[in-house]
Structure formats: structure tokens, C-alpha cells
């Protein structure tokens, strides 16, 4: 059968891909897409640890569900912020949003 | 075990025997048989779908005091085949600037979202695709894919009408998923499982008698989810010239159209499964699986007929009214109903069945009455605000 390592490596790869998206994409929405990938990678880890650990302890699945909730919250707020920024500054390019500098 | 008691199993065993006899690996043979089973189910469904077109046309004609198609074949039975031939030989156009891949994938996804639903529909006690223990949730999940297909179709057509239509439809579907999910929880509460077969098996009393309000809300949400009148805002011929699928022609349009009809039929089936005992009717389902299939198809057809009945009776409403109706009325009522039902279930668990039924019915009636009263007082205030108090006073005199 499938060893745990496969899942972990898949999750690590997905996480890195998401990280690249977060670090490199110009568009703020695309950055959020990357964040979603990272969250999913984490969830794969949680669920596979559940499956490969003591199966009667549901912590892994429970936390995956909480990650769902957090992801939904993050997307809602994140996209609302993007839209709000777009309204004010007419751009969603992350590089242009450098008010942190001042 | 004989064919008349468990036809699927017998057929599958027979086929597997043949394939392994050819020297095929056992696992591969199983996969192949399963694949063939799916193919068969889909084929049957598509054939039913063809006749759904005919039924729809006939029924609408009766509603409108006409006869309907009657030229081709007896009662016009050949008419749908002619329609299909027409759709197939029509020019298949792709609009300029369309996103080709997405444009072509969308109708497939739309059809798929309907067909995938049948994976969990139990046709008879022994005949069903998979007995998922989360079947009720699966309906919503499949609906999500349908949502996706609509927005893909609308966006890729490169047409502002289609985008607006898609936006509307998606807003409607995403919104009405919520009361639908809430009402799906009510059979779950009664039966203690989300599995379709378990829900049917526990319906010694049809759930409509336990929770008529839930059945009603489920029906409304289902109609909205289908995008049929009175909730057909995405099409809205007069304003959007048929909405998200405006640019599609030929068989691609046919897939949307057939998908919609089959979807309606499927939801008629789900309505029957959730609230009308599915394939059960006076113990007849135990006689033969084929009788069970006939019962559930008949019930699904009745559900389909009710949906059509609503469609050709009620007029279309505005998008804002519709969303307001969902968020301000249907969703709260559905949630309250779920809470009340769960509470009553916890209170009455173990009580006599007549007490259980009476309690459930009473709680349903009370919830319905209270919510109608609230709506009435709110809408009266709203009307007074809009029209001004004086006019009301005049109207009274």
C-alpha cells in the first residue's frame, strides 16, 4: 500500500508551489490562490496523519475542518480587502501597494 | 441468488466470470464491470432524458389548453428524436474571442454534475451505485460543480449577457444551497444517517408527514437550484436573451438543455427519496427490484410534474426579490426548522410514534405560522413606509 511518505512529499510539494505563488505573483488575487494551495497542503498532512496514526483519534480530521473554516474566512476577508484596495487605488498589483514603506 | 431478486449482482458476477475467463486480472475485471454498469446507467438516463423533453412539451401544452406535438409517431412520440437530429446537424458555432477550452468544457461539466448525482440514487434496496454515508451532502457537492459549469459557460462566451446571466444564476445557486442543505438535515435527523438507503429504509412513515415544511422548502430551493421558473432569472428571455448559454448552439446547447431537464427529474427523485419513501410503497418494493425501480421512477415523475406545474403557473420574480426571499426568509426559516426539529427529536426520542408524529407536525405548523406572521408584519410596515400611512387609511374607508 501507500506509505505515509508519499502523502507528506505530495503535501510538501504542493506547499512549496503555493509558496512560490505567494512570493512571486504580481496579482493580489493570485497571491490568495497560492495561500489556498498552502492551506490544502497542510490539510493533506493533517488527514494523512489521522489515517496513519491512531484512527480513533479524530483530531486530524477536526483540524482539517477548522482549516476549512479558516480558509473560508481568509478568502472572504482577503478578497474583500483586494476589492476595497481596487476601489481606492485602482490596482491589485501587489508591487504597487507599497504604502508600508512610509 | 436469482436474477429477479438481485439482478445487478447476478449480472456483474456473470460478466466478471466472462472477463476473468478471458484471462483478465480480477481487479481489472471488476473495474471494467463497474465501468460498464455506469455506462449502462448513463445510457438509460439519457434515454429517459429524451422522453422528458416530450413529457415537458405535452404537459405544458395541456396547461395551456393545447395538444402539443402530435405529428410524428403516436402522440408525437418520435418528436424528441427529431429534435435531437436537428440539434446535431445544426452548425456548431464558437464566438469570437471565446475561451475555447473553457467554452467546450462547460457543457460537459454541466451534464456531469447531473449524472454524478445518480451515483447515490438508490433505485431499489439492492440497486444503487454507492451507498455513501454522506449522500445528502453529496447532492450539494454535485451542485457545486454545476455552479462552476455555469460560470465557466458565462465567462468563456465573451458576451456580457451571458456573464450577467451566469452571475445571477451563480448567486442564486450559491444562496439557495444553504436552505437546501438545512432541509436535507431534517431527514438526516429523522433517520440518523445521511445515506440515501438508510433514509429510505427508516421511512416507515413518509417524512413529509413528519415535516411538510421541510419538504416545501426543499422543493423551493430545488427549483431555484435548477433555475426554472419562477426562478429562471438567469435566462430571463426578455432581459438577458436566455442568459449564460446564449452563445451555445447545436449539441452543446442541447447538453445544457437536457441537463436542465434531467436535473429537474433528478430533483423530483430526491424529493421522493427524502420525503416520500423513495422506492418504498406498501411493501411492494420487497416483491421485486424491478417493481421498486418502477415505484421510484413514478415518484420522480410526479416530482418532476410538480416542478413543471410550478414553472407554468407562477410568474418570474426580480433578482433582488429572489435573493431577499432566500436570505431574509427561506434561510432563517430553514435554520429555525432544523433547530426546532433537532430539539423536538431530542425531546420525543423514545416516545410513542403517534406522539412523535403529532409533536413534529405541530412544531412544523408553529414554525410556519410564526414565520408567516413575522413576514406579514414586516411587509405591512414596509408597505406603509413605501406608500405612506395616509393611503392605507384611505383604503380602509
Amino acid at each position: 500500500m501507500i506509505p505515509l511518505s508519499w502523502y507528506l512529499i505530495l503535501a510538501a510539494a504542493l506547499f512549496s508551489i503555493g509558496l512560490f505563488g505567494v512570493l512571486a505573483r504580481r496579482n493580489a488575487v493570485a497571491i490568495l490562490l497560492g495561500v489556498e494551495l498552502m492551506l490544502n497542503a497542510v490539510n493533506i498532512n493533517l488527514v494523512s496523519f489521522w489515517r496513519y496514526g491512531d484512527i480513533s483519534l479524530m483530531a486530524g480530521q477536526v483540524f482539517a475542518i477548522i482549516v476549512f473554516a479558516v480558509a473560508a474566512a481568509e478568502v472572504a476577508v482577503g478578497l474583500a480587502l483586494v476589492i476595497s484596495v481596487y476601489r481606492r487605488r485602482n490596482t491589485v498589483v501587489a508591487e504597487d501597494l507599497d504604502l508600508l514603506k512610509w | 441468488m436469482n436474477f429477479w431478486n438481485d439482478p445487478l449482482k447476478v449480472a456483474a458476477d456473470w460478466l466478471t466470470g466472462i472477463f476473468t475467463g478471458w484471462g483478465m486480472d480480477a481487479v481489472a475485471a471488476n473495474v471494467l464491470v463497474a465501468f460498464l454498469g455506469v455506462l449502462m446507467l448513463i445510457t438509460i438516463l439519457m434515454v429517459i432524458d429524451i422522453f422528458l423533453v416530450w413529457i415537458e412539451r405535452k404537459v405544458v401544452a395541456r396547461f395551456q389548453d393545447r395538444i402539443g406535438p402530435n405529428r410524428l409517431g403516436p402522440f408525437g412520440l418520435i418528436q424528441p428524436f427529431a429534435d435531437i437530429i436537428k440539434l446535431m446537424i445544426k452548425e456548431d458555432t464558437t464566438p469570437d474571442g471565446a475561451d475555447k477550452v473553457v467554452y467546450n468544457v462547460a457543457p460537459l461539466l454541466s451534464m456531469m454534475s447531473v449524472l454524478i448525482l445518480w451515483a447515490v440514487v438508490p433505485l431499489a434496496p439492492v440497486m444503487l451505485g454507492v451507498d455513501l454515508n454522506i449522500g445528502a451532502l453529496f447532492i450539494i457537492a454535485a451542485g457545486s460543480i454545476g455552479t462552476l459549469s455555469i460560470i465557466m459557460a458565462g465567462w468563456s462566451s465573451n458576451n456580457k449577457f451571458s456573464v450577467i446571466g451566469a452571475f445571477r444564476q451563480v448567486a442564486v445557486m450559491v444562496s439557495f444551497e444553504i436552505p437546501m442543505l438545512a432541509t436535507l438535515l431534517i431527514p438526516t435527523i429523522f433517520s440518523g444517517s445521511m445515506g440515501m438507503n438508510a433514509i429510505i429504509q427508516s421511512q416507515d412513515i413518509w417524512f413529509i408527514f413528519l415535516s411538510p415544511l421541510a419538504a416545501l422548502i426543499f422543493l423551493i430551493a430545488a427549483i431555484a437550484e435548477l433555475g426554472r421558473a419562477p426562478f429562471d432569472l438567469a435566462e430571463g428571455e426578455s432581459e438577458l436573451v436566455s442568459g449564460y448559454n446564449i452563445e451555445y448552439s447545436g449539441m452543446k446547447f442541447g447538453m445544457f438543455y437536457a441537463g436542465e431537464l434531467l436535473h429537474a427529474f433528478t430533483f423530483g427523485g430526491f424529493w421522493a427519496i427524502m420525503f416520500f419513501g423513495g422506492y418504498r410503497f406498501l411493501g411492494l418494493e420487497k416483491v421485486s427490484p424491478f417493481l421498486a425501480i418502477a415505484i421510484i421512477l413514478f415518484k420522480a415523475l410526479i416530482g418532476y410534474w410538480v416542478i413543471m406545474w410550478v414553472k407554468y403557473t407562477v410568474m418570474r420574480i426580480r433578482i433582488d426579490q429572489m435573493l431577499a426571499f432566500n436570505w431574509k426568509f427561506l434561510t432563517p426559516v430553514a435554520f429555525v426548522l432544523v433547530m426546532v426539529t433537532a430539539l423536538m427529536n431530542a425531546l420525543l426520542r423514545g416516545a410513542d410514534s403517534w406522539l412523535y408524529i403529532t409533536g413534529m407536525i405541530l412544531s412544523n405548523i408553529i414554525v410556519a405560522w410564526v414565520s408567516l406572521e413575522v413576514v406579514r408584519s414586516v411587509s405591512r410596515k414596509e408597505r406603509e413606509r413605501v406608500e405612506g400611512v395616509t393611503q392605507i387609511a384611505e383604503a380602509h374607508h
Binding site: L19, V22, L23, A94, E95, L97, D98, L100, K101, W102 | -
Partner: protein, 720 residues
């Protein structure tokens, strides 16, 4: 319903009422007060049932009603919360339920329910009255309804929730939660008329002052949790853990752990119960809606502070045995209490505002209880806590009724310069407001300890008897003097307010208040008299033994060792008779002759006498002290001896300073280290500045790279 479940439910109705009113019914005044009073009634009903069932249990102290649930996981254990009704909390619950219900009912009348909305009333200001035209076309000014009527009921609902939570709690954590909820509510209610700057300031002052105490209390709770690993009373007060606590010596003043925790918790009480030196907020708290918020600061919330100390008595007295020398923690408590008692009583004598007299009186009476608990007079403290709650609630509600009647007069004459709270504007109100007068008289006599018939006599007498019997003579004398002053200022208040002839037109036109206000007065006055009879000492001459000393038996059962019954002694009894009757007589005698309106209180001979006291203090303490400080310390020691020594130091250090500055400071420190480091920082900053691009993704990359580098280094050099 099971008693334990019922106890859980007691605090809930008021908080539900709070949310109901805030969220739904705030538009509708009648609905709001019905919801609030209904909730208070439900809680009252629950409390009475629980109390009745508690009475029926033999040895309730050893087998109290208790129930608890796991609340917060703390590592591998749980923090429990739960409810506990032992004799102490049952007795407290009884008076809390009654007084809370009475306030709720009283508030309806006090906020002028049923009156028209005011002409110029604004939210956040007291109502100013409304003009109505009667059938004959005459215009009258009448009282107007409070603009934030519903808000008030929501707040007191939340308040009642806090108080009930505190009382039924079985652990310090939920006690503290209720404590803080009440702190918040007192802030909200004192600042209820937030349009008045004085009310705003008073609210902030009350909040900040009590917060000082609360911080120490939280420290005490944290210390206790660390020391014992639990916050539940019944687990802390076991013999083993008390033994451990009292034998652990902390580095603070050599106190035992038990003593230090008790003192830290006691500081919380100092804040909440307005003890010296944190008493300053309570008189200002009278800015709240007159009697009700004041009543909160007399009958329930400040009592909570005393309740907490009484609860902690096993901790406070760890290592002490009946009749033995007091522990240092107990000494602190007793001294603070006794001092506060006399100190506040002296101030109360000189107040003219009817509510402020009562406010200082409250501080003083709480001092009595604190002193009692400090001396180990456990039962006496509880007894006085309860009787005081009843008669002080009565007095405050009565004073609110008086003020209300006076406001009626003020509206009638239209002269808004007359302060309806100044006692010198009153007089002769007994004829105008008979119910208020008689109930106020009962409350006042109870406060003064009028012998035999009032509840205050029995409880105060017991404190004095305890102090005398255990040989704490200094405290005994202090408290006796304070009791004398209490009787005196109480009679002064009654005389000025009710007796004699009206001193102003407004007082002539004062009017009895509606039944919603007088009915609670009547009910409370029953308790102000009758509650004393449940605790008559067994050896009391004539009366002793007629009625069994139920209170001693019942409440004493809370402690592991039942406190012994005191031998009767004539000296404290005579003392309390003399101080009560003497104070009352003196108060009446001195103030009965004041007939003219006293615009200037200094024209009255008696107040001049009061002034002599001040001069006496002046001669005895201040003048010598001034002389000592101005002539001896300042002129001789400071300017003569010390300055001349310093004048030698001055030039010498000046020279040294100049030398160091020129040779060391300027060249080495300023130029080398100072400018050098500044230049270094500047150049580092200039070189690093481009990194700050404001682009979040670059920051992210940078921080990740740093994490990798550091993580890699740590891994290879420390772990691998």
C-alpha cells in the same frame, strides 16, 4: 427540579433579560421593565426555593449542594467551574434575592414610568420634567420619564447576573468573573447620566479605583492557583492544603503563603467595599441615578467585597485558633476595618447631602464587618453583612424616595436652584411622605442599633461582644465610638429631613411617591426589624433562648470547626445601649431646634461645635506638626545644618564635574562613543534603507530566507 440544576439556573434570567432588552425590547418601556422584573422574580423564586431546601438539610456545611463541570482544559487537567450552596452562600443568596427584586420594582417608580416624555430631556441627562395641560387649560410641570429607561433595566439585569454568579460560584475564578461584571455595571450605572461631566468623572474614578484592588486580587488568585493547583473553595479549604499554605513562608514581610494570598485578596475587597485608603470612589458614585445605583453601592456590590473576605476566612485565619493571638493577615484586616469604621463615621457627621451621609455610613458599616472578620468574629460579620444589606437598602431607597418627593416640589415651584438632595432644604417631610418617613425611621434606627427591636442592634452588638470577649480592647473602643457617631448622624439626618417644619417651599410641596417605590420600602423595613430575631444570642438576658439562635447554628456550620458560643457579658451590651440611645438622643436634641432654613450651615451652633473639633485637631496635631516641619526641620535642620554641609559639597563637586566634563566626557564619551555610535547607526541605516521597499512579498522572502539560514545553523551546530 434538582436543586443543583436550579442553582445553575439562578443567575441566568437576568442576563437573558439583559440581552432581550438590549437586542429586542428596548423600544418598548413597559415590555423592558416587565422582562427585567420578570427575570428578577424568577431568580428570586429560584433563590427562595434553594434557600428553603438548604434549610431542610442537616449539616449543610458538611454536605452542601454542589455541582461542577469541566470548563477549560489546562494541559492535562481541567479548570472546573461550578456552583456551591453552603450555609454562608444560602444566607447571602437570601438577602441578595430580596434586595435585587426590590430594586427592580422600585426602579419603575423612580424612573417615572407612566409619566409623559420630557420637554427638553436628552439621553444621558436626568429628566427635567414635562409640561402638561389639564382639562381646564392650566399648565403644570410634572415629572418626566427617564429617556434611557430600558437601558437602565438592561444594565441592572446584567448587574444582578454578576451578583448571583458571584454568590452561587464555588470557586474564585467565577467569583472574580461576577466581581468584574459588577465592576463594569457599576461603571455603566454611575455614568448612566453620561451627559453630566461629574457623572462621567465619578464613573471613571470608581472604575479605576476598584481596578487597583482587582489587580491585587488577581495576583492573589494566580498565587493561590500556583500554590494549590485549584481555585475551588472546598478543595482549598481542606486541612492539608491550609496546613501547607500556612507553613509556607514567602519572602514578602515574612508572611505565610496563606496570609499573603489572603492579604492580596483582601486588597481586592478594599477596592470593592470602599475601605480606607481606596474608599474615595464610593461617595462620588452617588452621581448615578439616585437611589438605585446608590443602593447597588450599598446593599449588594460592596457587600460582595465583604462576602469575598468572609469566604476566604479559612485562608485568612490559617494557623489561628479561637481565642489565640491574631495572625498578621488578620491584624491587617482588623485594623483597616476598624480604622475605616471610625474614619468614615466622622466624615458622615459633616455631610449635608442626604445620599452622601449614607455613602459614608456604608463605608463605616462595611468597616465594622471587616473589623469583625479580622478579629475572627465570623458569624457576627456575616450577620451584620445581611442585616446591613437590608436596612441600608431600605435607607437608600428611602432617600431616593425623599429626593423624588423633593423633585416633585422643585417642579411645582419651578425654582431649579434648590438642590433636592440637600437636607437643609428639607424638614417636616413626615407629614408629606408618611410611608417614606416611617420606613426611613425604621431603617435609621436599625442603622443606629436601636436596642432590642431592630436588626442592626443584634448584629452590631454581636460584633462588639466578640471584640470585647476576645480582648481586642482597642478595636472595641474604636468601634463603640464609631457606633455612637453612627447613631448621631443618623438621627441628625432623620431630624433634618423629616422632623420639624419645612424649611423651603419645595419641601412644603413634596409629595409621597407611587406604590412601586413605597412597596419595596415597606417590605424591606420588615426585614430591617425582623431579621435580627434570628440571631439573638442564647445567653442574652430575658430574650435569650426564647427563639433559638438559628443564625449561629446555621452559618457557623460553614466552617470546619463550629465557632463557640460567647459567654454573655454586660459591658458590651451596656456599651451598645449607651452609644445607640445616646447617639440618637444627642442627634435629636442638637438638631430639633433648627427651624429657619439654614442657607449657611456654619451659622448653626452645633456645626460650630464640629468646627471646634477641627480646631482641636489643629491644635493637637497640625500646629505642632507645622511648627516641627517649618521651624525645626526646615529652618534649623535643613537650612542650618544640612544646607551648610551641602554648601561645602556644592563647589567641590562643581569643580570635579568641570574637570570630568572637559577631560573625559566631551572627548571620550561624546565624540568617540556618542557621535561614533550615531554615525555608525546612521550609516547602517542608510545602507539598509533600500531593503524596506514596502512590498510585502519581498519582506516575506527575506524573512523566510532568514528563517532558513538560522534554522539551518541551529540544526547543524546544535542538533546534528
Amino acid at each position: 427540579m434538582a436543586t443543583e440544576l436550579l442553582i445553575w439556573l439562578i443567575p441566568l434570567p437576568p442576563v437573558l433579560a439583559f440581552f432581550l432588552i438590549v437586542l429586542f425590547t428596548n423600544k418598548n418601556k413597559a415590555l423592558s421593565h416587565s422582562v427585567a422584573i420578570g427575570a428578577a422574580f424568577l431568580s428570586w423564586l429560584g433563590s427562595m426555593v434553594v434557600f428553603a431546601r438548604a434549610l431542610g438539610v442537616e449539616h449543610l456545611g458538611e454536605h452542601p449542594f454542589e455541582s461542577s463541570i469541566n470548563w477549560l482544559p489546562t494541559g492535562d487537567t481541567w479548570l472546573n467551574i461550578g456552583v456551591l450552596i453552603d450555609p454562608l452562600s444560602a444566607a447571602v443568596l437570601f438577602f441578595v434575592a430580596w434586595t435585587v427584586l426590590m430594586i427592580f420594582i422600585y426602579s419603575v417608580g423612580y424612573h417615572n414610568y407612566g409619566q409623559p416624555a420630557g420637554d427638553h430631556d436628552h439621553k444621558g441627562l436626568p429628566p427635567h420634567g414635562a409640561t402638561v395641560t389639564d382639562e381646564l387649560g392650566h399648565k403644570h410641570t410634572v415629572l418626566s420619564v427617564e429617556p434611557m429607561y430600558s437601558r437602565f433595566f438592561a444594565f441592572i439585569g446584567l448587574f444582578a447576573f454578576g451578583m448571583y454568579t458571584l454568590v452561587v460560584s464555588d470557586n474564585l475564578l467565577t467569583l472574580f468573573v461576577g466581581w468584574e461584571i459588577m465592576g463594569l455595571c457599576s461603571y455603566l450605572l454611575i455614568g448612566f447620566w453620561y451627559g453630566k461631566p461629574s457623572a462621567r468623572n465619578a464613573a471613571v474614578k470608581a472604575f479605576m479605583t476598584t481596578r487597583i484592588g482587582d489587580v491585587f486580587m488577581l495576583l492573589g488568585i494566580a498565587f493561590l492557583y500556583k500554590a494549590t493547583g485549584t481555585l475551588t473553595y472546598r478543595e482549598i479549604f481542606t486541612e492539608e492544603s491550609l496546613h501547607v499554605l500556612s507553613n509556607t513562608i514567602t519572602p514578602v514581610f515574612g508572611l505565610s503563603a496563606a496570609g499573603l494570598i489572603a492579604i492580596l485578596l483582601f486588597i481586592g475587597t478594599i477596592g470593592k467595599s470602599a475601605q480606607f485608603p481606596l474608599h474615595v470612589w464610593l461617595p462620588d458614585a452617588m452621581e448615578g441615578p439616585t437611589p438605585v445605583s446608590a443602593m447597588i453601592h450599598a446593599a449588594t456590590m460592596v457587600s460582595a467585597g465583604v462576602y469575598a473576605v468572609i469566604r476566604m476566612f479559612p485562608l485568612l485565619s490559617a494557623g489561628w485558633h479561637e481565642g489565640g493571638p491574631l495572625t498578621s493577615a488578620m491584624t491587617v484586616v482588623a485594623v483597616v476595618g476598624a480604622f475605616t469604621a471610625i474614619f468614615a463615621a466622622t466624615i458622615a457627621v459633616a455631610q449635608n447631602d442626604i445620599k452622601r451621609v449614607l455613602a459614608y455610613s456604608t463605608i463605616s458599616q462595611l468597616g465594622f464587618m471587616i473589623a469583625a472578620i479580622g478579629m475572627g468574629a465570623y458569624i457576627a460579620a456575616v450577620f451584620h453583612l445581611i442585616t446591613h444589606a437590608f436596612f441600608k437598602a431600605l435607607l437608600f431607597l428611602g432617600s431616593g424616595s425623599v429626593i423624588h418627593g423633593m423633585e416633585h416640589g422643585v417642579l411645582h415651584t419651578g425654582n431649579h436652584k434648590v438642590d433636592p438632595q440637600d437636607m437643609f432644604n428639607m424638614g417636616g417631610l413626615r407629614k408629606k411622605m408618611p410611608v417614606t418617613f416611617w420606613t426611613f425611621l425604621i431603617g435609621g434606627f436599625a442603622l443606629s442599633g436601636f436596642p432590642l427591636i431592630t436588626a442592626g442592634f443584634w448584629s452590631k452588638d454581636e460584633i462588639l461582644a466578640d471584640a470585647f470577649a476576645n480582648g481586642h480592647l482597642v478595636i472595641f473602643i474604636t468601634l463603640a465610638v464609631a457606633a455612637f457617631m453612627t447613631a448621631f448622624y443618623t438621627m441628625r439626618q432623620i431630624t433634618l429631613t423629616f422632623l420639624g417644619e419645612p424649611r423651603t417651599k419645595e419641601a412644603e410641596h413634596a409629595h409621597e411617591t407611587p406604590w412601586t417605590m413605597t412597596a419595596p420600602l415597606v417590605i424591606l423595613s420588615v426585614f430591617a426589624i425582623g431579621y435580627g430575631w434570628v440571631g439573638i444570642p442564647e445567653h442574652f438576658p430575658l430574650l435569650g433562648g426564647l427563639v433559638p439562635n438559628w443564625f449561629h447554628e446555621f452559618v457557623g456550620g460553614t466552617l470546619a470547626e463550629h465557632p463557640p458560643v460567647l459567654e454573655f457579658n454586660w459591658i458590651p451590651l451596656l456599651t451598645s445601649l449607651v452609644v445607640a440611645l445616646g447617639g440618637l438622643a444627642l442627634g435629636w436634641y442638637v438638631y430639633k431646634d433648627i427651624k429657619s432654613p439654614a442657607e449657611d450651615k456654619f451659622q448653626i451652633p452645633v456645626l460650630k461645635n464640629k468646627y471646634y473639633f477641627d480646631e482641636a485637631y489643629d491644635y493637637l496635631f497640625i500646629k505642632p506638626l507645622t511648627w516641627f516641619s517649618e521651624v525645626f526641620v526646615s529652618k534649623w535642620m535643613d537650612k542650618g545644618v544640612i544646607d551648610s554641609i551641602l554648601h561645602i559639597f556644592g563647589p567641590a563637586t562643581g569643580g570635579l564635574g568641570t574637570f570630568i566634563r572637559e577631560k573625559f566626557d566631551v572627548p571620550v564619551v561624546n565624540q568617540f562613543f556618542g557621535d561614533g555610535s550615531a554615525n555608525l547607526t546612521y550609516s547602517i541605516g542608510r545602507n539598509l534603507r533600500p531593503i524596506q521597499t514596502g512590498r510585502i512579498q519581498q519582506y516575506l522572502i527575506l524573512s523566510l530566507v532568514v528563517i532558513f539560514v538560522v534554522g539551518g545553523l541551529v540544526y547543524f551546530f546544535l542538533l546534528a
